[in-house]
């Protein structure tokens, strides 16, 4: 009945209005087709995120663990501002992220350069190199924890023999060195991701650019700095952005290896957040910490993306 009325109506509409209607339809159609996916994304991503953020404004602690949470206003954020441990945690998070990232990126890039012209054998090697990426973090943490222990592994003994360590001791038990443990494990785990993405970017650079520069008498260093680096930069920046966000959030590896210890030497934001939520049972404050982390990461991501856009814009200017 309704559709009939509609078609009657459209028949009687002036041609201009008909055009407008079909124009609207053309614009609405993609959204309609996307609607199920968008609803799903909202349902599984945005709603839980919103709920999580709302916890930061509630008082949810041990005292009302199973009861109703009360509205706390900005109390949790005031706690955050006064938290004497937070400074150390942020410093640790920064150290953990920067060291992991620099070595993953440097070694991953180096490996990609080596593999670039390696032929069939290299392709087999590539599959093998990707292996660490496929191993669950729990297993990585446990294995590296054992590797650092002088009772279960020869590694500390070798390091002591080479004079790297004063004696065959577990670096995870030394507050001054403990952070190196998870960083090494994380570097081992993260290299393949850089290698694979940067290898793809390297292989997309046309060979004739190098040939032309060689004819002009460019050295290997010059062609690396003037051709390779600028052309992989967009990929490199995106990879760095993705990885650094993932590294900050990769608290499970640290938790398994050290639980943030000894004496909080490896306490990073996610492990601190986890123990605040599940040992102190202060979920309100844990959510405030999570919100703070989210804001920091958003600012960081915006900065990197801006940098990338500027580089891309600079390049188009150069080429025109």
């Amino acid at each position: 009945m309704h559709t009939h009325a509609l078609s009657m109506e459209s028949k009687t509409l002036p041609p201009q209005a008909q055009r407008a209607a079909s124009h609207r339809m053309r614009h609405a159609l993609p959204w309609l087709l996307l609607a199920p996916a968008l609803l799903l994304v909202c349902g599984v991503l945005l709603v839980p995120l919103g709920v999580g953020v709302s916890y930061a404004f509630q008082s949810m602690s041990m005292d009302n663990l199973f009861g109703e949470a009360g509205f706390a206003g900005l109390d949790n954020f005031r706690t955050l501002a006064d938290d004497p441990k937070l400074g150390g945690v942020l410093r640790n998070t920064l150290g953990w992220t920067v060291y992991s990232l620099v070595f993953q990126c440097g070694l991953g890039f180096g490996l990609a350069l080596l593999l670039r012209h390696s032929g069939t054998g290299g392709r087999r090697l590539q599959a093998l190199l990707f292996l660490p990426w496929a191993i669950p973090s729990v297993l990585i943490g446990l294995v590296w924890k054992m590797l650092f222990s002088p009772y279960t592994s020869p590694l500390p003994h070798w390091l002591a023999y080479l004079g790297v360590l004063p004696q065959a001791a577990d670096i995870l038990a030394d507050p001054d060195l403990a952070m190196l443990g998870p960083v090494v494990a994380n570097v081992w785990f993260g290299i393949p991701f850089f290698t694979i993405t940067l290898l793809a970017a390297l292989q997309a650079i046309p060979e004739d650019l190098y040939e032309a520069s060689a004819l002009d008498g460019a050295t290997a260093v010059q062609s690396f700095v003037r051709i390779t680096l600028p052309l992989v930069m967009p990929t490199l920046l995106i990879t760095v952005l993705l990885r650094s966000v993932w590294i900050v959030n990769f608290g499970d590896l640290v938790w398994i290896m050290t639980q943030g210890g000894p004496v909080g030497a490896t306490q990073i934001l996610p492990t601190y957040l986890f123990s605040t939520a599940f040992t102190d049972l202060n979920e309100g404050y844990a959510s405030a910490l999570a919100v703070a982390q989210l804001v920091l990461l958003l600012v960081y991501a915006a900065t990197v993306l801006r940098l990338r856009r500027r580089i891309m814009a600079g390049r188009t200017e150069e080429s025109t």
């Binding site: 041990m62 663990l65 199973f66 507050p175 210890g261 000894p262």
Partner: protein, 422 residues
């Protein structure tokens, strides 16, 4: 085929989730897991189902690492089981949150559980007037010692705290590359700061009669200082600052450290890896007043207040706690059984078990020490504060009196809150 792929998971989800409210269906959660004990539990649950054909039991096994978080999330999201294994340290939170059902109405009239030991019944009440779980056994500390290392150092297994300190020193200084004490400074390391303190304090309590924490007393701090000295003098491995359960047990059976305070459940692992003639178990050392205070923990079966099948739930708890099943359980899990006379079983007659049964038999000399698990704040104190600040003391970053004062202040406040509420 495609239909199965499509509807199979849906059907499974329906079966798992939808059937909960039906009468006769029990969801049981196990949290302290090992392959052997899960197998035994499955056998016992099957026997229960055979005896009660109208009830079906679904077992959910959650590995101990991370179990606390997972169970908490289950409860908070409304996926509440009917019967749950409840470690004593969790109980205060769940009791306070009114998540557990008092079992007294059923327990009073239960013939099967009439032979429960008195200490079991007391423990089950958590210092309050209601019974919130039926413990399935006690985890009690005794002292494991390495016979070879002690012989090399020329000392006998210690029976007093002074002998213990001397033995630790002797092994560490006379046997090259070996340590006297297996210290637990990492996960679960709160343990180091309980028993040694109460032994010097000559009490099984953690508060004086006015509710003040005894950590402010010189005697308690002496116990703490002893552990700190062990570490700083090199009587325990440098790594032990981050050792958890697995590491201390490995340290002991690999012969790295000579003495270890542990529960009977460690006996199973150690007996597998070590020649049974090479190690012994004695009661924990006694303090200046001639008494020893073995740290005693327990876990048991509890029923949730949200359960829709409480009578069936009780039947199951009663079945698992009955003398026959409990004895099987105690042997596999490595806990001390809960019924009177169970220690007469030949399985507990061996040399190693004597360490615990001597403790139990001399109940005047060895007083069980139960940490203040009735305080909701205890979990964070034991699992976090004591580990972090304990490491600070071991490394000499903070002094024992300074940290002891912090603990005393926190615990006294928590105790006051508890007393005011009860």
């Amino acid at each position: 085929m495609r239909k199965i792929a499509l509807y199979g998971p849906l059907l499974l989800a329906g079966l798992l989730g939808g059937g909960l409210a039906h009468a006769g269906k029990l969801k049981v959660v196990e949290v302290i897991t090992s392959p052997e004990r899960t197998k035994l539990l499955q056998t016992q649950l099957a026997a229960f189902q055979q005896a009660n054909p109208s009830t079906t039991v679904e077992l959910i096994t959650i590995p101990w690492d991370g179990a606390f978080e997972k169970v908490l999330v289950m409860f908070k999201s409304g996926q509440i089981p009917d019967v749950i294994e409840m470690p004593e340290r969790w109980s205060a939170l769940y009791v306070k949150g009114k998540q557990l059902e008092p079992l007294d109405p059923w327990l009073k009239s239960s013939k099967e559980l009439a032979t429960l030991q008195k200490s079991v019944q007391e423990a089950a009440r958590f210092g309050a007037d209601k019974t919130y779980q039926i413990p399935y056994g006690f985890y009690m500390k005794a002292l494991f010692y390495n016979k070879k290392l002690l012989a090399q150092a020329g000392v006998r297994p210690p029976s007093t705290q002074d002998e213990f300190v001397k033995a630790v020193e002797a092994v560490s200084t006379k046997v090259p590359g070996k340590y006297g004490y297996c210290l637990r400074g990492g996960r679960g390391g709160g343990f180091e700061w309980l028993g040694h303190s109460t032994t010097y304090g000559g009490t099984g309590a953690f508060f004086d009669k006015d509710g003040n924490s005894l950590y402010s007393s010189a005697a308690f701090q002496k116990g703490m200082q002893m552990v700190v000295d062990f570490y700083q003098k090199g009587y325990a491995p440098k790594e032990s600052i981050s050792w958890g359960y697995n590491e201390i047990v490995t340290g002991f059976y690999s012969g790295t450290c000579a003495m270890l305070e542990q529960d009977a459940d460690a006996l199973i692992g150690i007996a597998e890896k070590m020649n049974s003639k090479d190690f012994g178990v004695v009661p924990v050392p006694t303090g200046p007043n001639g008494k020893g205070y073995p740290n005693t923990g327990f876990a048991g079966w509890a029923m949730t207040s949200a359960s829709a099948n409480k009578d069936e739930g009780w039947k199951l708890i009663q079945f698992l706690s009955a003398a026959k099943q409990n004895l099987e359980w105690a042997k596999v899990v490595g806990v001390l059984p809960i019924h009177q006379g169970a220690e007469a079983d030949p399985a507990f007659a061996g040399e190693h078990w004597a360490g615990w049964f001597q403790t139990l038999k001399q109940s005047d000399k060895y007083r069980q020490l139960t940490p203040p698990v009735n305080l909701p704040e205890w979990g964070a104190m034991y699992d976090k504060t004591m580990v972090e600040t304990g490491q600070e003391m071991l490394l000499g970053k903070r002094s024992v009196p300074e940290v002891a004062k912090q603990w005393a202040d926190t615990l006294t406040a928590a105790q006051r809150k508890f007393t005011a509420a009860h």
